[in-house]
Amino acid sequence: MGNVGQATSLTLDGSEQGYATTRVDALLGWARKYSLFAYPFVTACCGMEFMALTSPRFDLARFGAEAPRFSPRQADLLWVVGTISQRQGPVLKRVYEQMMEPKWVLAFGTCASSGGFYDNYTTIAGTDKIIPTDVYIPGCPPRPEAVLDGLMLLQDKIASGDRRAGVVKPRFDPAQRASGLAQLRRSAKDPRELLPALEEQEAKARAIGHGGQT
């Protein structure tokens, strides 16, 4: 066997014939990204969306990340779900420090990502002010699909060894469209004029997997 990180090949002898080649770090990354043990640090209303995420409908188990560990010493993925107040800062930092390497942090929702609209004396403006954060998932709360996007982004980063922070981008932004919901309230003379455009947008959203009930 070669050194860690170098290409190795393994030949199978016996009744099975064949071979597989990989790199050890790629193999480790592959194994890690599908066996994330999560520590949910749930402080606020985003927790409701976290519950939806772990329920059968969205099924976090598909990504190998469904096993919660309520001791940070057994976890390698810290979900920060909700607002972090200044008072909770020391607690969060201590939880993070107790986790074993390698460890990742996922900021769930706008408050955990940037403090959101809590921009005042009592709130920490984002988990990255006190602990390293790998993936930010904006949204108030984010849709479960956005969270799954974030999880897959994190898995990509784990597999490729990329420790730079990443932000989940919305797949589409209603405010950027002429028929967007924000426009509907602010500029339309008669909201009913915009209904055909909205229906078209909803159909598009359904086509790419957003938009709920069918």
Partner: protein, 202 residues
């Protein structure tokens, strides 16, 4: 019945009731701070008033009043048996919050204990005779009283030291897509005003 409570208060305390009004049926009496506890005692024990439920207590800061009672302590009371309400106000403290003190009413309504602690914590009003006047929302290390209008809007007092950008390797300002308009941009000295054009001109 509508102003019965106020009439009772005026008959009993006279000039210690500084002003009253009952806009939209909300009876309000501004009380001389020295008579705060006596008024509360009367409202609780007088059988025709019987205010047995302390609903709320809070402080409202009016810095423009200067030395004439800058901090207004507002108390809401309700009588479960009589079904009536009253709002009491007391104006305390000078421009530097000196003399912002009131007698505690915890012995009249035990439920006022935490509410008085909250007003002390947020607004800096001290309650004489309170059994345990500590901060209740903020941490003990916190300095100042955040709901006083002289407390800077962007001042935080972190318990853990924030990471520096060198340490983090990423910008610690608001990340995309969070603009500087996320959160309260008003009340910030020197913060640039952000033109919000996301929703188009109107």
């Amino acid at each position: 019945m509508s102003t019965y409570v106020l009439e009772q208060l005026q008959a009993r305390f006279g000039a210690a009731i500084l002003e009253t009004h009952s806009d939209f049926g909300d009876d309000t009496a501004v009380v001389e701070p020295g008579q705060w506890r006596a008024v509360c005692e009367f409202l609780r024990t007088e059988s025709s008033l019987d205010f047995d439920m302390p609903v709320d207590l809070c402080g409202v800061d009016y810095p423009a009043r200067g030395d004439a009672g800058r901090m207004e302590v507002v108390m809401h009371l309700y009588s479960v048996s009589k079904g009536h309400r009253v709002r009491l106000k007391a104006r305390v403290g000078d421009a530097d919050m000196e003399g912002a003190e009131l007698d505690s009413v915890t012995s009249i309504w035990p439920g006022m204990n935490w509410l008085e602690r909250e007003v002390f914590d947020m607004s800096g009003v001290r309650f004489r005779g309170h059994p345990d006047l500590r901060r209740i929302l903020m941490y003990p290390e916190f300095e100042g009283h955040p709901l006083q209008r002289t407390y800077p809007a962007d001042k935080t007092q972190p318990l853990v030291e924030y990471r520096t950008e060198e340490e983090a390797g990423v910008p610690l300002g608001k990340l995309e897509p969070f603009g500087p308009d996320e959160g309260m941009s008003f009340g910030r000295h020197g913060a640039p005003r952000v033109e919000d054009t996301r929703y188009g001109e109107d």
